[in-house]
């Protein structure tokens, strides 16, 4: 098995390269890719990019308007808002990436099992998905947070529990369509086993839509994290989540609008970036829609 993986890896790398190039050729995709890359860069190198310590309190410099020293001003405790936004992107991305990755993996595995596995397993899994799905998501989130206490891990867990059923259902439905297609029968007639058919033939056929949904879910997860943090149920202070920054700005809105603006703009930019990227992904993942690069 490992030998098989290693012989496929170089080809896969070349494919990914061509893929990125094709996305960049589409103007919207290019914009999305740029914004997302920028966000990723900011998130990864946040600790090097921040001009000030994002949690250092300097009360004399509180609620300052934007200036060269503090491009986005300071909050009610004199902390530099730009530094907090940059550090906040790291938290936002961390939550989004880990939550989406876990949901994606869980959704793919459970969805394939439900779609291609035995009937009884499908029924059990569907019952489970429906049970989770039937909870109002806010209530579920609040219940989990109440049980486990507010923390980044809890936010990730809330998102995973909420999205796995959705992703798995998507994969399951797609699998059900694909598994009756003639090429699966043809593969079976040539002696391909269950696992080979699932991994090699069904998975590439069903993963496209989920990739798009997942990439469009990234800003949703960031918003959930911001929302929970805004309510004080997410990241514990003084860690600078975008939601916390918005909350700080909200309480100080009579004195200065700059904190809300500083916390809000990155949310908007992130949402736009991932949405554009998701749409470009959708166009590229379908080989029939794929345009050749000039």
């Amino acid at each position: 098995m490992s030998a098989e993986v290693s012989r496929i890896a170089p080809a896969a790398a070349a494919r990914v390269g061509g893929f990125v190039r094709r996305i960049a050729a589409d103007p919207m995709g290019c914009l999305g890719l740029t914004l997302v890359t920028l966000l990723l860069f900011t998130g990864v190198f946040a600790d090097l990019l921040v001009p000030y310590d994002p949690i250092k309190i300097a009360v004399p410099e509180r609620l300052m308007d934007p200036s060269w020293a503090h491009p986005l001003g300071t909050d009610q405790l004199g902390r530099d808002v730009l530094s907090r936004v940059i550090k906040g992107s790291q938290i936002a991305l961390g939550v989004a990436v880990s939550a989406i990755t876990l949901s994606f993996a869980g959704g793919v595995i459970l969805g394939l099992l439900a779609g291609y596995g035995p009937r009884w397993l499908d029924n059990v899994l569907l019952l489970l998905f429906d049970a989770v799905y039937s909870f109002p998501s806010i209530m579920l989130a609040l219940a989990i947070i109440t049980l486990l206490g507010p923390s980044l891990g809890t936010v990730v867990l809330v998102v995973v529990i909420g999205s796995v059923p959705v992703y798995a259902r998507l994969i399951r439905t797609q699998t059900l369509t694909v598994k009756t297609s003639e090429f699966v029968l043809a593969e079976r007639s040539m002696g391909a086993g269950r696992f080979r058919i699932m991994a090699r033939h069904i998975l590439p056929n069903v993963i496209g839509p989920l990739l798009i949904v997942a990439s469009m879910d990234v800003p949703v997860v960031i918003t959930i994290e911001a929302g929970l943090s805004f309510l004080g149920l997410g990241v514990r202070p003084p860690a600078p989540s975008w939601g916390r920054i918005l909350n700080d700005g909200y309480t100080q809105i009579r004195d200065t609008p700059w904190i809300v603006i500083g916390g809000g703009i990155p949310l908007i930019v992130t949402t736009l970036g991932f949405t554009f990227l998701g749409e470009a992904l959708r166009d590229q993942l379908d080989p029939k829609l794929r345009k050749p690069v000039g």
Binding site: R7, R119, S181, E182, F183, L185, A186, E187, R188, S189, M190, G191, A192, G193, R196, R200, H201, P204, N205, G208, P287, K288
Partner: protein, 348 residues
């Protein structure tokens, strides 16, 4: 004959469990594919052709119930095999080519990846497998095969896709190729090419082919033996020559009369067999063809005829058969007896 048969199906019965009840799709069907020969299976829609060939590799859907009989592929009973042994046998001993080449290849993988992947049994380097795939593509007449391996199925025409499907099926070097109406979705030119290819492959690979079609012209052109299925049972079987020149079963006679290629004069109204294929929810009492048969008599409705074969292996399941066989009456005096089977492939 059975000793030399690649595929030997005996007394196979298959039911489908449906919400409406049990559909008796196959009833006591026997069929042999002798090594190195091409056997055609003909039947209307719903006659059990697809069920028969799916059962040959035990690829039937989950709601199918095998009532009895045996399917012996190269000396091994497919119906009494462990799933692992079955998987091992599929592809190596027999593979299938399907009707619609636009769905029988995985649309999101390049054909090269699919062709390499299906050689997973052989522990040889990928480059070798790729070469082998390219060689096979050249054999089925795909120009510039090494480059075309990196194309996706939708970048090929329908006829080419069907050749690729055939190439893929042949990669495992099977003893038996099962072709399920491989030309139905293609236009006539492509159809002729595929038939030509299958013939060529037959002589080159010395393999056997089980060819399913409802196109009598194709069967006449390609096959050595023919089995006529009606309502899930064998109506008549025999060599192509016997069957087309001396059809014994009234159903075969009617089928041949309905073939537009054999009509004596041009007509706007194509002949049809009156009536419908019987509903197989209830196993027919008596002969299944009786309600549509022009020569029906009282015994047909009461007693199901058994397949009676003569020394040449030409058999028909009809109560009239012994009489016909002995009196040697030409079946279709109206169209003249000198005409051979049709050679042009024509959509029926």
């Amino acid at each position: 004959m059975s000793a030399g048969a690649v595929l030997d199906i005996r007394g196979l019965g298959v039911d489908f469990l449906t919400p409406r009840g049990r559909v008796h799709a196959l009833r006591d069907v026997s069929l042999q594919v002798p090594r190195g020969s091409v056997v055609g299976v003909v039947g209307e829609s719903g006659s059990g052709k697809s069920t028969l060939i799916l059962a040959a590799l035990r690829l039937l859907p989950a709601n199918a119930l095998i009532l009895g009989g045996e399917v012996v592929l190269d000396g091994e009973d497919v119906l009494r095999m462990s799933p692992a042994a079955l998987r091992d046998l599929r592809g190596r001993k027999a593979t299938m080519v399907f009707q619609d080449p636009s769905t029988s290849l995985n649309p999101v993988l390049t054909i090269g990846r699919q062709m390499i992947d299906i050689q997973y049994r052989d522990r040889v380097p990928t480059a070798r497998k790729r070469d082998r795939a390219a060689t096979m593509l050249r054999k089925v007449g795909i120009p510039d095969p090494a480059t075309r391996l990196d194309n996706y199925p939708h970048e090929f025409s329908g006829g080419m896709r069907q050749r690729i499907a055939i190439a893929m099926a042949l990669l495992c070097n099977p003893d038996l190729l099962i072709a399920d109406e491989p030309t139905t979705a293609l236009d006539v030119t492509m159809e002729a090419q595929i038939i030509h290819l299958l013939r060529q492959l037959k002589s080159e690979f010395h393999g056997s082919i089980l060819f399913v079609s409802h196109n009598l012209g194709l069967i006449a052109e390609l096959c050595d033996r023919v089995v006529i299925l009606y309502a899930g049972a064998v109506a008549e079987e025999g060599s192509v020559h016997d069957l087309f020149h001396r059809p014994r079963h009234p159903y075969t006679q009617a089928l041949l009369e309905c073939d537009p290629a054999r009509l004596a004069k041009v007509s706007r109204e194509l002949p049809t067999i009156p009536g419908d294929v019987p509903d197989l929810l209830a196993a027919p009492v008596g002969c299944a063809f009786a309600p549509r048969c022009p020569k029906v008599f009282e015994r047909c409705r009461r007693e199901a005829p058994r397949l009676v074969a003569d020394g040449d292996g030409h058999g028909a399941a009809c109560h009239l058969v012994p009489a016909i066989a002995s009196s040697r009456v030409g079946p279709r005096p109206s169209t003249g007896s000198g005409r051979g089977p049709p050679v042009e492939p024509v959509e029926t």
